[in-house]
C-alpha cells in the first residue's frame, strides 16, 4: 500500500456509529436504574464467516434485520464495527421473529456466536460488554506495542551527564572524509572532514542496556551535552592551527551553544565558508522555529548548513531547498528507491539545485556509489570511500 491508497478518514462520510453506542449505553443504564423489563437482540456480523459478510448473503441477513426498523415497538442501534442492537419490551415478538429469520440462514454454531437475545435489567453487563467490544477501544489499547527494553530515566541521564563532564568524547566520534568521486576519475578526492558523535556508542559506554528510543527526549538531551563537550574540545587555539575544512553534526541547541560561539569566534578567517553544520531533518521538525534561527545564524556567520536526511521520506517531507539548506546529506540504505522508479524521480525532485549539493553517506558497497552516480550525486562518505582513498 502506498500513501495514495491509505484510506483517508472522510470528514463528511457516514457516521462511525459511536453515537449509537453512547445512546445505547445510556439507555441501558436508565433501564437498569428504573428497573424496566426489556429484551435486547444483539447481532454481530463481524463474528460470521467472511463469505456471509459479502453479497448476496450479507444482503439477505441485512434484510432480515431491517424488518425491526418498521415497528414502532423496537429501537434499533447501529454500533461501530458493524454490530447491530435492537430493544423491545416483552413479549418482544419482533425480536424473536428477526432472530429466527437470521438464525435460519446460519449454521447453529455461527448463529450462537453472532446472534444473542438478552434480558434487561438482569443481563445489562453483557449488553454493556457488547458496547465495549463494538467501540474497540479496549482492544486497540491492548494492541499497543509492549515496551520491550529498558528506558533510561532522568536520574540515569543526569549520571551520564556527570560522567560526560570529565570524559574525553573522542572515543565516541565518527570521523569520515567527504570525498568527490566522479565516474571514471580514479581515487576519491577528499574535500573535508566530517565529525559526528555516535549516540549508540555513548549509550553503550554511559547507559549500558538502555534503549534511548524509549525516551527520545532524554536521548536528545544527552546528545546535546555530548555535542557541547565535543565543541569545547574543538574550540581551542591549538586545535585551530591544524584545522582544515570541517562538517559537524549538531542538534539545534548545540549550534548556538557557548561552545559553538567560541568555535565560531576562533574559526580562522582563511577557512570561512569551510565550516558546515549538519542538522537532522527530524531535529528541525522537533523545533522548526529554532532550526530557522540556527539556519539564519549560520548563514550570517558564513558557515554552511547541511540537512541530514535519514531516509527518502525525510528528504521528501523536508526538501532541503525549502528548509533553506544548500546541501542535503542522504544516508545509504535499503529504503532508498530503486533507480528508474517514480519514487526515485520524486526523491530527485527534492534534491537541492546545483552541482555537489547532495552527499551520500554510509557508503559501504559499490552499489551505493553506482546508485548515487545515477542520481547525479558526486559527493560520498563512508567506509568504502575511506578504504578506496587509502588504496588510491
Amino acid at each position: 500500500m502506498n500513501l495514495a491508497e491509505v484510506p483517508v478518514l472522510d470528514a463528511l462520510g457516514p457516521r462511525v456509529g459511536a453515537a449509537g453506542a453512547v445512546a445505547l449505553a445510556s439507555l441501558v443504564r436508565e433501564t437498569v436504574a428504573a428497573g424496566v423489563d426489556r429484551r435486547v437482540l444483539l447481532f454481530r456480523p463481524a463474528r460470521l464467516a467472511p463469505a456471509r459478510r459479502r453479497p448476496p448473503q450479507a444482503g439477505l441477513l441485512r434484510e432480515a434485520w431491517e424488518g425491526l426498523r418498521r415497528s414502532s415497538r423496537t429501537r434499533v442501534f447501529e454500533l461501530p464495527r458493524g454490530a447491530l442492537v435492537a430493544l423491545e419490551g416483552p413479549p418482544a415478538h419482533h425480536l424473536a421473529e428477526a432472530q429466527a429469520a437470521i438464525t435460519a440462514m446460519l449454521d447453529p454454531a455461527e448463529a450462537a456466536a453472532a446472534v444473542t437475545l438478552l434480558r434487561l435489567p438482569e443481563e445489562a453487563a453483557a449488553v454493556l460488554a457488547a458496547v465495549e467490544e463494538a467501540l474497540g477501544l479496549a482492544d486497540a489499547v491492548r494492541a499497543a506495542a509492549p515496551a520491550a527494553g529498558r528506558a533510561p530515566d532522568g536520574a540515569a541521564i543526569a549520571a551520564a551527564e556527570r560522567a560526560l563532564a570529565s570524559a574525553d568524547v573522542t572515543p565516541f566520534l565518527r570521523r569520515r572524509r567527504v570525498c568527490r568521486l566522479l565516474p571514471g576519475a580514479g581515487a576519491p578526492e577528499p574535500l573535508w572532514e566530517d565529525l559526528r558523535l555516535s549516540l549508540a556508542d555513548l549509550r553503550d559506554a554511559l547507559l549500558p542496556g538502555c534503549d534511548l528510543g524509549l525516551a527520545p527526549a532524554l536521548g536528545r538531551r544527552l546528545a546535546r551535552a555530548a555535542e557541547r563537550r565535543l565543541l569545547a574540545g574543538l574550540a581551542r587555539g591549538e586545535e585551530m592551527r591544524e584545522r582544515g575544512p570541517l562538517s559537524l553534526a549538531l542538534g539545534i541547541e548545540a549550534a548556538t551553544s557557548p561552545e559553538f560561539l567560541r568555535l565560531d569566534a576562533l574559526w580562522p578567517a582563511a577557512l570561512r565558508g569551510a565550516l558546515s553544520v549538519a542538522v537532522a531533518a527530524e531535529e528541525a521538525a522537533t523545533d522548526p522555529a529554532g532550526f530557522a534561527f540556527v539556519r539564519d545564524f549560520l548563514a550570517a556567520r558564513g558557515h554552511r548548513l547541511i540537512l541530514d536526511a535519514a531516509g527518502p521520506t525525510a528528504a521528501r517531507a523536508m526538501p532541503a531547498a525549502r528548509a533553506g539548506a544548500a546541501l542535503l546529506r542522504l544516508r545509504w540504505s535499503a529504503a532508498l528507491p530503486p533507480l528508474g522508479s517514480p519514487a526515485a524521480a520524486a526523491l530527485r525532485m527534492a534534491f537541492p539545485a546545483g552541482a555537489e549539493a547532495v552527499i551520500l553517506a554510509g557508503v559501504d558497497r559499490p552499489a551505493a556509489i553506482a546508485w548515487g552516480w545515477e542520481m547525479g550525486i558526486t559527493l560520498f562518505q563512508g567506509r568504502l570511500v575511506e578504504s578506496r582513498r587509502a588504496a588510491g
Binding site: M1, E161, G213, E282, A284, F291, G311, A350
Partner: protein, 401 residues
C-alpha cells in the same frame, strides 16, 4: 545631566565589573559608540546577540553587560564595527540595537539597572527526578478533553474525534525548573501520555476520563514506539474504523515505512495522525509527503503568510485538523482552505452552545460552565451537569433522517 553631574554619578556608581566597564567607556576618546539592545527573545537569540556584540567590541576591549531586565549593552566599540554589528543583529534577531555615541550618551548608560558582564550560558535544569514530578501531578488538572468537530457548509456539525491531551502550561507548573528544558518537558508529557493510554484499557477509568463511552474515535498524543505491529491478516478482512488515533510527533512521522503500516494499524483499531504542524513547520516542509489520516495544524495568524499557504497547495485539506481555533478568523481561514475538522477554545464554545440548544436544563447553566465540564477528565469537574449523557456525547444526537 551636566558633565559635573555625570562625573559625580560615575563616581557614585557601586563598585563591580559592570559599572567599572561603564566608567572606562565614559573616560575614553570621542568617536566611539555603545550598543544597547532590548532583551532578546529566548536563550538562543540571547547567546548569539552577546557573541555578536562582543565581536564588535573586541578592538576597543568593550564589555557586553546585561541588566537586571535582560537588556544587553556593549560598553564601547569603533563606530564602523558597531554599526555593522547592529545591522547584523537587527537582521538576525529582529531587534535593532540603539547606537549611542560616547561619551555623550553617558547619562543614559549610568541609569541601567544593575549591569553585570553578560555570561554565555546554557541552562540545563537537573534531569534527575523529572519522572517523580510528572507522576505526582494530579491528572484532572493536567489533562483536557477536547472536541474535534466536522464543520462544513451545508452539513450538520458532528463530532469527528475526541481528543485527550496534556495541557503543557499546567504540566509545566508541576515540573518546576525542569519545565524550562524542552527535552525534559517533552519527556514528562510523553510519560503522561503513555500512562493515559494504559488507563483507557480499563472501562471504569475510561468512563471517569471521558464521562462515558467515547462518542467518537479518541485522539491521543503518542510516540511512534507505542504503535502496534499488527500481524498480517487475510486481505479480504475489511478493517473497521479506528477506535483510536495516535498523533505522533512530526519528527517521528519522517521515519521510513510508516505509510505502509497504515493497513496493519487499522486492523489493530488504530489510525495514524501527525502533530506538531504549525506556521514555522510549514515553512520548512512539504506536508503532502507526510503519512497519516489526520495532520494536526496549530492555528496562528502567521498561517496566513503566502509562503506558508504555498506549502498547503498540494495537500488534500481533508487530511488537516485545525487545532487551537480561538475565533472567527481561524474558522474562516480553515473553511476557506477546505479544512473540515476543527478544535480549540472556539470549537469547545461552539459545541457547548450546540449542546445547550438541545439541553432541557440549559436555562440553569452558563456557556462557560458547559465548556469547563466538557473539558474535564474527572467526575468532580462535571459536577452540576444535569444531563451527563449529553455532556459525554459532546454533541446532541442528530435527528433521524
Amino acid at each position: 545631566m551636566s558633565q559635573q553631574d555625570l562625573a559625580a554619578a560615575v563616581a557614585a556608581a557601586p563598585p563591580g565589573p559592570g559599572p567599572e566597564a561603564l566608567r572606562r567607556a565614559l573616560r575614553g576618546p570621542p568617536g566611539r559608540v555603545a550598543l544597547r539592545l532590548a532583551a532578546p527573545d529566548g536563550p538562543a537569540r540571547r547567546r548569539v546577540a552577546i557573541a555578536l556584540l562582543a565581536e564588535a567590541g573586541r578592538s576597543r576591549v568593550g564589555v557586553v553587560l546585561e541588566t537586571a531586565t535582560g537588556e544587553l549593552l556593549l560598553t564601547e566599540a569603533e563606530a564602523a564595527a558597531a554599526r555593522q554589528a547592529a545591522e547584523g543583529i537587527a537582521a538576525l534577531i529582529g531587534l535593532a540595537p540603539a547606537v549611542l555615541p560616547l561619551p555623550e550618551a553617558g547619562p543614559a548608560l549610568m541609569d541601567l539597572p544593575a549591569p553585570v558582564p553578560a555570561v554565555l550560558r546554557m541552562d540545563a535544569p537537573p534531569a534527575a527526578g523529572v519522572e517523580a514530578l510528572a507522576d505526582s501531578a494530579p491528572w484532572p488538572a493536567l489533562l483536557r478533553r477536547e472536541e474535534v468537530l466536522c464543520i462544513a457548509p451545508g452539513v450538520p456539525r458532528r463530532l469527528a474525534l475526541l481528543r485527550l491531551r496534556v495541557v503543557r502550561e499546567a504540566l509545566a507548573a508541576h515540573l518546576g525548573a525542569a519545565a524550562a528544558d524542552p527535552d525534559l518537558a517533552r519527556h514528562a508529557r510523553e510519560r503522561l501520555n503513555a500512562r493515559l493510554l494504559a488507563a483507557l484499557a480499563d472501562p471504569a477509568a475510561r468512563d471517569a476520563l471521558l464521562g462515558g463511552a467515547p462518542p467518537a474515535p479518541l485522539l491521543l498524543d503518542l510516540p511512534l514506539a507505542l504503535l502496534p505491529d499488527a500481524p498480517a491478516m487475510a486481505a479480504e478482512e475489511p478493517a473497521a474504523a479506528p477506535a483510536l488515533f495516535a498523533a505522533i510527533p512530526l519528527a517521528e512521522a519522517m521515519a521510513e515505512g510508516l505509510a505502509g503500516r497504515a493497513a496493519a494499524l487499522r486492523r489493530a483499531g488504530w489510525g495514524l495522525a501527525v502533530r506538531g504542524l504549525d506556521a514555522a513547520a510549514l515553512a520548512l516542509l512539504a506536508p503532502e509527503a507526510l503519512p497519516g489520516e489526520a495532520l494536526l495544524l496549530r492555528w496562528s495568524p502567521a498561517l496566513v503568510a503566502r509562503g506558508v499557504m504555498a506549502a498547503l497547495r498540494r495537500l488534500d485539506p481533508a487530511r488537516l485538523v485545525l487545532t487551537g481555533c480561538d475565533g472567527e478568523a481561524a474558522l474562516a481561514w480553515g473553511l476557506g482552505l477546505g479544512i473540515a475538522r476543527f478544535a480549540g477554545p472556539g470549537i469547545a464554545a461552539l459545541a457547548a452552545a450546540t449542546r445547550m440548544a438541545a439541553c432541557r436544563h440549559a436555562a440553569a447553566c452558563s456557556r462557560a460552565a458547559c465548556v469547563a465540564r466538557a473539558a474535564a477528565v474527572a467526575a468532580e469537574g462535571r459536577v452540576g451537569c444535569r444531563d451527563p449523557g449529553l455532556l459525554a456525547a459532546a454533541l446532541p444526537p442528530e435527528a433521524d433522517p
